[in-house]
């Protein structure tokens, strides 16, 4: 149970070798071993959404995923969302424009969920966004602005696609 094993995770396009125990979660592996602290621990029980990241492009709760389950799969964290030149993703820009965060702690999870929410085609209306963003708690209460940011980002991404 407690014997560490070598493991390679592909995080934000880069292979990262590390030794973790089988019981180590993807969240703790990223935060405590790889110094990728943008992904936050809010509850460690899959109840708050703060640790949301993408595995093979789909939103996943890193606290409910063992690091070894993610071996060989493409992991994208908040640190890997902006362009290689640092240009913010459309969702990040929209969160700034709409002031869709206050303390910023749930924000990486909100943004990763929002990117997936749009990609999944669940940003069609405010009601739909509220439902498909409901797994990410924000205690500062930025929800109305998060909805506005997702709508704004969805429009921008649609324009980019059309262009």
């Amino acid at each position: 149970m407690s014997t560490p094993r070598p493991l390679t995770l592909i995080v934000n396009g880069e292979p990262r070798a590390l030794q973790v125990e089988p019981r180590t979660t993807l969240l703790d592996a990223l935060r405590e071993r790889l110094d990728l602290t943008g992904t936050k621990k809010g509850c460690d029980h899959g109840q708050c959404g703060a640790c949301t990241l993408h595995v093979d492009g789909e939103r996943v709760l890193a606290c409910l995923t063992l690091a070894q389950q993610a071996e060989g799969r493409r992991i994208t964290t908040i640190e890997g969302l902006a362009g290689p030149d640092g240009t913010l993703h459309a969702v990040q820009k929209a969160f700034l424009a709409e002031d869709a965060f206050q303390c910023g702690y749930c924000t990486p999870g909100q943004i990763m969920s929002a990117v997936a929410c749009i990609r999944e085609g669940h940003a069609g209306s405010a009601a739909e966004i509220r439902e498909f963003m409901a797994g990410n708690l924000c205690r500062c209460g930025a929800y109305p602005h998060i909805v506005a940011a997702v709508q704004r980002a969805a429009r921008a991404l649609e324009q980019e696609t059309l262009a």
């Binding site: 407690s2 125990e21 019981r23 180590t24 703790d28 935060r31 405590e32 110094d35 602290t37 943008g38 992904t39 936050k40 621990k41 809010g42 509850c43 460690d44 029980h45 109840q47 708050c48 964290t77 908040i78 640190e79 969302l81 902006a82 913010l88 459309a90 990040q92 969160f95 700034l96 424009a97 002031d99 965060f101 206050q102 303390c103 910023g104 702690y105 749930c106 924000t107 990486p108 943004i111 405010a126 966004i129 509220r130 963003m133 409901a134 708690l137 205690r139 500062c140 209460g141 930025a142 929800y143 109305p144 602005h145 998060i146 909805v147 704004r152 980002a153 429009r155 921008a156 980019e160």
Partner: protein
Amino acid sequence: MSPLDAPVKRGGAGDGLPVLGAALARLDGVAKLEGSARFALDQPVEGLAHAVLLRATIAAGRVTRIDAAAAEAAPGVLAVLTPDNTAPLAAASSWTGAPPAQPQYRPLDAEIFHHGQQIAAVVAETLEQAQEAARLILVDYEAVPAITGLDDPRAGDGDPIDMLSKSWGDAAAALDKAAVRLTLEYRTPREFNMPIEPHGLIAQWDGEELTLWEPSQWLDGMARTYAEWFGLRFDQVRIVSPYIGGGFGSKALALPHGAVAAMAARQLGRPVKLALTRSQTFTGLGGRPATRQVLEIGATAGGRLLAIRQRGWNETSMNAVSVEPLGSVTGLMYALPNFDSRQNVVPVHTVQPGAKRAPGENPSAFGLESAIDELAHAVGQDPLALRLLNDAEHDHSSGKPWSTRKLREALAAGAVAFGWDRRDPMPRSMRDGHLLIGWGMAAGTYPVRRTAGEALVGILADGSVEVASSTADMGTGAHTILAQTAAEALGLPVERVQVRLGDSRLPRAPVTGGSQMAGLMTGAVHKAALAAREVLIGLALSDPRSPLRGTGANTLRLEGGMLVAPDGTAYDVSAVLKATGRERVEALRDTLAENRLKPEDHYRNFTTVSTMRAPTDGDYSMHSWCAHFVEVAVDEALQTIRLRRVVSAFDSGRLYNPKLAASQWKGGIVMGIGQALLEEGLVDHRHARLMNDNLGDYLLPTNADIPEIEVIDVGEPDPHASALGGKAVGELGIVGVAPAIANALFHATGKRLRSLPLTGQRLAEAG
């Protein structure tokens, strides 16, 4: 142009508005969006050991034995701390500065006062090893019966808190003569702050210097507590809290788990990281205590208030007195000739309650603003009209005039935006298909609290400006509004200002609580910035190397980064500093004198709340005001209650950044919606144990619970409230939300619920 690029204003200069007051985006925003903002537990500290806490499984009694042999032998374990093997710390004085009742403090204590109390800690090389070892510890207890809450017959009536007694006129006589008399009881449950960042810290010793990376709403107050616990000088403790993942009142004081982390780090000679689990954030610290209040209201048949008599109770822990003042707003909102309010605190076996957003004002307003709605119904009047009828021209509790009170304006603006005049006053009269629709409203208020602040403003040779203070930005927008303040005072673009906060080595700041931060810190930064400007101008006029010395000017203006002489000669600030061989000029200023304090009050001012001024200290009574209008839809078959829309109007005085102020107001409303409809700490009354100590069972509002929220600003600068005219923002929004929803629920269903939260089950039980 992409829709993304339009409304993000990063500077105020280009839009014709003054910098202070412009709706700028957060200056600390990009770091939070990129994931590069390192919160306390994200800090890369070499050689970290990980600590986890073990908690008591009884609520009252004592630990008789802890068998930690298996844990100590488990892989990676460095130490197991227990009541038996840890020495007591010195007890610290309270947040008011009152000396401790006992000389010693045991953060790991064999005496048990509540279920979930920390009793041991395991430190190991990895988090997983510490968690595993903690499960191997065996504990024996001697349990005694516990008092489980306000309704436990053994709890009794509690102890009167004389400080909270208020009265004027003759409430008893006025009630006896009143044409209309209502006696109403309101209750609120145990509520929890639940910031998404759990409480926790990294503690590191370097000789007799203790560094703590810990989220803090009050770095200086917490540093004092740690210093007193460990027998250190104040300057031997450094707290670093660069960002705070939400606090809402819960991160202002040093807590027992912090003492354990620092003890472990000292014992091991290694930095120790200790984060509370989510469950432990329900038992390691308290939120709003459960409350009960009885209001007796007397009025004329026409609805004019004659008297209120109030009796209140809040629970506290067995070993500390926490008060949730239920009379905070009862005598303040309306013209009330006779008032009598008293309050008891009732010790029960729970963790010591803390401060949750608007402690006092919030449950106080739930009682009063529900009762006013009940009175309106009883006398057949519109609840908005009844409030206007009873509007207070001055503060009846202090006898002083209001500094500013735009409550009438808030009520009017909210009513118009909501469409209140289309409301049918009859309960159960408005429908949407099979749904019952209810429109309700309530008012709220929050006082202007004032403590002196301190700030350093430096003007640098590269033309940039640095603002530094130990104050905290937990999402309030301190970084942004303090940059705006300095930019405005110095006539510079806001992009040139760097704001450094959240380190106790920086100039001092009092607690970021009581919604006082913006008012006091903008005042301190403004003062320091003007002083730095004077230093710069003095240098430019008097230094022989200054290019402006030869102009013969008596004074200079500072505009757009240029020092300008009356004859029009102008030099860039950085050119003047470079010519005079300076890297920077700076000024450190505090506002002690403006708050009638002396230099010797400095330490006390920043490390206790003893110098915080009451809203009535001075010639005026100073408060922020608000009015909420809400619509609910009730499906009686399914007993579901859904909130459909919220319109709220606010008077917070001058807004330093309306975009960020709106976020604070809305955040308060969202937390109020959670309080009204969802949040309730449920106690197992057999064991005095909190049953729903997780975010799946203690329900916070989700995005899907929150409808559109419209906020309206009706404030104007209040010259008495603060140096630059602002009043309270952060805690105002939550006050009055729960009663507005309860009033809407009554309008929808004809059923009056007087206990929070307003659930379908309570609606069903109401018949």
